[in-house]
Assembly symmetry: C2
Homo-oligomer: 334 residues x 2
């Protein structure tokens, strides 16, 4: 796969450099680690700091979601790899304004280890209280009874948005993390992969898939899904994804949901809206109210082909977080 | 190429249906043509109506740019094909509030014919005054002396933003079109193509390109570029694109520009920011001030691989249009 890059070893550094130069009013690097980015709008005294992070290659996740109404800072890892504890700790120190810091990330072993170490260092060395909410929205990645084993995928967007809003509302650390965990409990995603991406270092495809095939439940680093089969129509794909979600979480007539149709990289908006069309039909037939819809590339996997559908079941508190305005370089909501 | 669709004949209809269902607070269809979309925020009495349009497959262009601060309505064509006069006329009637309507579109024969016919019908049948500004920002598509023959590509985004702001400022029709034309005069784009897209109807690639090759100056429907050669580094590609722009328009030390690095579809944000990094270096070395930067998929060509660089030279009036807030389903600026 062709890449516009200079040296595959420095793609993350060069991306960050370009990103900071493109949006100097929004984002700045911290002095010790060039993988530590924080909002230029100083975190308010007494506001809980919201820290997100994870591997690169998911842009606009995660660095694109630092700004007003979402995260205060991000620690950036290598492509599809967790950031190390040092940048996480540096961001933690920068965004702690006396109220502690909420760590939000997807359920991956490397992230759990590195964010866990950083949290311990923040406590022991800096006396900063850290609490954590881990996203595990991918229905396909473990059985219903073991939600805590599931991967975090596109639903992370809703979880970060909910926590960012809660922190802005002035909630304390326990409350921010409670909201983030509730958002995660209420969020389910199911994806379909059509074509692989390639790591810049190797140029090798992230998974194998035949012409005319699709893979249901594929992870966003190319982790195996639950079923490979012939490519179906957009409507049948939407039926399958929404059906699997609704078998996993009870969403009933009259309930409200936020919907995210998330492109994985190379799938055009046209196809994403065609899939959304069917998602809306299904929910409408069931009397489930769509409170707000997001369609686009929110958490990607480089140039992977495919998309996911995410539903977050809303109560009044989560609906309020969804309505909260956001001003980030890669996502603005009025 | 794999597509998430139902029937290739109805991809545009189904996309529009999904789009309107996803953003009912923003956009609605008019009764006579399902390709006629207007903002739900009623156009102010006495405000110039701003009408954009063109083929589908360029999402978020063009339907994504209907909303406050940009266009009042859009006429949607088939994939890579102009809309017919009927939807254009219907939108014209809906958004005319006594001050006339500005038509903005790219320089393609089909668009010129169809928008021209609609303008004539608006005048003769409805007594609505229409004036037109045609985008022709693609440096590669004709020599400097014949700018009026050039194609419109990603720079259309700046031209629509400038005109939308001018209309919001309360400028009259002549003034809105003057600003749009000035924006076009001051805007230059250069693109590079790495991989083709495929039309849903045929599945055939839009152009041929070898492994390890790139094509400089490729049009955004796959029109031939000016040079095919081996894929170069991101920095050398940026050098070439910016150099060709700066040979075409005088932008001097102390001048201000708006920059757009526009992904064509499947090129990840990571690569777009790596290219932006070098664009910023070049401009900075020349003492050219970047007033505002946009990086992302603003006007695409389905899943085409590659990107373009656009510079718009700013005077105070154009800078003010760039700062103007926008609230559209696919683009929000605070």
């Amino acid at each position: 796969m062709k890449k516009l890059m200079n040296d595959s070893r420095y793609v993350v550094e060069e991306m960050i450099e370009g990103y900071v130069k493109a949006h100097p009013d929004y984002i700045r690097q911290l002095p010790e680690n060039d993988r530590s980015l924080v909002t230029t709008k100083e975190t308010r005294e007494g506001k809980v700091g919201v820290l997100i992070g994870g591997g690169s290659g998911h842009e606009p996740g995660f660095l694109g979601y630092v700004g007003q109404g979402m995260a205060d800072g991000v620690a950036v890892g290598n492509i599809f790899a967790s950031p190390s504890p040092d940048p996480i700790l540096e961001v933690t120190k920068a965004i702690d304004k006396g109220a502690g810091v909420a760590y939000l990330y997807g359920n991956y072993a490397g992230d759990i280890m590195n964010f866990g170490m950083a949290a311990e260092m923040a406590d022991l060395e800096e006396d900063i209280r850290v609490e954590t909410a881990i996203a595990s929205d991918d229905v396909a990645s473990a059985p219903k009874e073991e939600k805590e084993k599931r991967r975090g995928i596109a639903g992370e967007f809703f979880i970060y948005k909910a926590a960012g809003a809660a922190a802005d509302f002035g909630y304390d650390l326990d409350e921010v993390v409670r909201v983030a965990k509730k958002a995660n409990e209420n969020t389910r995603s199911m994806g379909v992969g059509l074509s692989p991406c390639a790591l810049p270092q190797t140029g090798e495809p992230s998974f194998e898939i035949g012409e005319g095939e699709m893979e249901i439940g594929l992870g966003h680093h190319g982790e195996p899904g639950i079923e490979k089969g012939p490519l179906q129509t957009a409507d049948r794909v939407a039926d399958r994804l929404v059906n699997d979600i609704l078998e996993d979480i009870t969403i009933s007539k009259g309930d409200r949901v936020a919907v995210l149709v998330n492109g994985l990289g190379s799938t055009p908006l046209m196809e994403q809206y065609i899939v959304f069309r069917r998602v809306e039909q299904i929910l409408s037939e069931k009397g489930i109210e769509i409170y707000r819809s997001y369609v686009g590339n929110y958490i990607t996997s480089l140039e992977m082909g495919g998309l996911s559908v995410t539903l977050m079941k809303l109560d009044d508190e989560l609906a309020k977080t969804i309505d909260h305005p956001v001003d980030c370089p890669m996502f603005v909501q009025k």
